[in-house]
């Protein structure tokens, strides 16, 4: 499913061009020391395509993901979707989803409350919302968990809820930041299979950040390596 006709794809899906992100070095204030975290990374993701970014710790892959989400200020480059530039679109209006490595579930909400969060933000009426929540719980293999508190869940269950939560508002692009890394090996392999299947089933475009090559192979259509802030292709 790799990008065949490049000219056809320019208007389709995500087009990130020459993304460059700097950090301010900790300790120094002002415009002093700044570290280059992502260096002119260009990336395209077509509709329904799943792309994996792999590389060692600190190579900038998570930062690149966050830059696409709009959570990191760009020093250079542009992010657009279906040909529309997103420079002035704040993260919550981009229609992208982001799943964190540690889930970042809302501790004060139940499982259902977490999954329905994005639906509430979209003002989906209650009956549809409830239907969607139970549909997603079914999908991630946690039927009947709706009223549980998130503190009662195991690590694997938490990540399933986090995934269901990201999928609920039907994002046009799902950004997965090491979604399985916090889990132990057996569970990770099983969930990788399920995740791959889920993304296909829902037809969601996705970028998966992982340091695990085999996980990338299992889930993604294509894999891009990253090192020292640059994409290797």
């Amino acid at each position: 499913m790799a990008t065949d006709g490049a000219t056809d794809m320019t208007q389709q899906g995500l087009d990130a061009r020459e993304l460059t992100v700097h950090y301010a070095t900790p300790g120094k204030r002002g415009s002093g020391g700044r570290v280059l975290a992502v260096d002119r990374a260009s990336l395209r993701v077509g509709a329904g395509e799943v792309v994996a970014l792999t590389g060692p710790s600190g190579c900038g892959k998570s930062t690149l993901l966050r830059a696409v989400a709009g959570l990191e200020p760009l020093s250079h480059g542009s992010v657009s979707w279906d040909g529309t530039d997103l420079a002035r679109t704040p993260p919550h209006r981009r229609g992208f989803g982001l799943m964190f490595q540690d889930g970042q579930l809302f501790g004060h909400l139940s499982v259902a409350g977490n999954i329905a969060y994005g639906l509430r933000a979209k003002r989906v009426p209650a009956p549809q919302r409830e239907a969607r929540v139970s549909e997603l719980l079914e999908l991630v293999g946690l039927p009947g968990f709706a009223s549980r508190g998130v503190h009662e869940l195991s690590g694997g269950q938490r990540q399933r809820v986090a995934l269901a939560r990201s999928l609920a508002p039907e994002p046009r692009l799902l950004l997965l930041d090491e979604p399985l890394s916090a889990l132990d090996r057996g569970l990770r392999e099983r969930l990788a299979g399920e995740l791959s299947q889920l993304l296909r089933q829902t037809g969601t475009s996705a970028i998966l950040v992982t340091h695990d090559e085999s996980e990338a192979e299992m889930i993604a259509d294509r894999t891009i390596g990253m090192s020292g802030g640059r994409l290797l292709e």
Binding site: P73, S75, P91, F106, K122
Partner: protein, 583 residues
Amino acid sequence: MGERDRLVTRQRSERHQTAPSRPHARPSRGFAWFWVVGTALPLAFLLIFFVWPVGALLLTGFTQHGAVSLDAVPEVFGEPRTWRVIGQTLAQATLGTLLSLVIGIPAAFVLYRLEFPGRRFLRGLSTVPFVLPTVVVAVSFTALFGPGAPLAWLGLDQNLAVLVLALAFFNVTVVIRTVGGFWAQLDPRPEQAARMLGAGPARVWWTVALPTLAPSIASAASLVFLFCATSFGVVFVLGGRALSNIETEIYRLAIDFLDLRSAAVLSLAQFAIVAAVLVISSRARRRREHAVAMQFDPSRGASTGIRPGRAHLPVIIVFALTTLFLHVLPIGALLLRSLRGPDGALGFANYANLFDPPADSALRGSVWGALQMSLGTAVVATLIAVPLGMLTALVASRRPRSDALQRGARFFDSLVMLPLGVSAVTLGFGLLLTMHRPLGIGFDLRTSVVLIPIAQALVALPLVVRLLLPTLRGIDPRLRQAAMMLGASPFRVLATIDLPMLGRSAGLALGFAFATSLGEFGATAFLVRPGAQTLPVAIATLAGKQGAVNYGMALSAAVVLGVLTATVMLIAERWRGETAGEL
């Protein structure tokens, strides 16, 4: 995932927070109005009712007949009495701090390091002394050491020793909370390693535990010193003619001698002391944070604690005895003596006098009336302090990307903390000076009862912010980002992430604000009018007057106020979230 990766992620996410501003992706646009209002409301409140009055007060020290004049400074500092007062203030504060540390550190060990049933309850109880109104504690100590008291034979009435004990009564709590809170989260493994290298418990304490705790002890000590040096009620009631501090001296100069200029100069001397202590304490805090970064193990969460063994027996005995002597005896003496009527008979005569004042009462109006007024003003003060404190905490908890905004947030944070460092007497005095024509409006606020809750809210505001801030700062920025990525607008993020978290500590903040306002004495003492005073002012008035009837009423009124405050605090403690701050 290993420890190190987690650390790397953590550091990286912190670095993200300080990235410089770019036109691209600024999520809070269109939401700016909220921050403007959220900053402007507390700021305006502070400027009108704090900065202006205190500034105006200081100005009177340096002007004469409308012209700048520094004459008052050499005049005041030429007086031997000034130096005696400053010396006494420093001596009281130093001794109070030392005693608080000596008693507080073993108590911190027992309450935060040992595991035993009832520990949670005792910890909650240990907060109570700190929030007991100063006049209640002062009257308790007179009930134990004063004329006709069980320990009167010691001859310590109006003695420095009793004053220092009373100062430690409150501030042991500060030490227990600050040091204990740090201790409970300390990684126990270095101590275990030292044990395995052959060090006995005492050696482990001196060589491993104490050096690690040193920054938190230093930070507690500077805070306690500050509280002791600016204490008003205790010195006012217990000091008598012999002992005073800068606070009581300002009060004496302003109220008894109407010497506003000298009072203003002394206020400035107090500023200097407070500022010096604050600088030292902020250094200590920075070192403590550094130490936490090294020693604190985030994956462990709350410590499991040690089971008490025979080796801990000396510490437990010290804890039990000091608590008994410092806390139980004075409160016990207060309770018992309040039940002994003016004629010496056991009964509720003193309590009956609260409702139906006897002919020779030194008070205009009944104590019951003072209680009603206290409850009313405390409710209003709480309703001012908690919403303003929440707004302040929301603003101060943000880490904006822009450097200028970050500096602004820090400045805002420290401005709100100022009333904690500026003495209540200075504040009350300043309000009295300026509020006859607030903002040039010809409406004398001084004759209005509104000024009292405003002053109390100013005193409570920094406490509310200190309690709420850690909860908000503890929210992982990625949690807000997760909400944002689910399509939540900044306002929705605030309403669905920040506010529920804030709600968990709100009970504690409400309780603290109410209890503080209820017991506030220093500022209120300037603002009440005869016949319409609050309960603490009534107690201080009664305790300072001759006669068994008056003193009996002071005792029973102190019991009522103490029970009220302690109950509010114990309820509020049950309401505390896991993340609320310590003071």
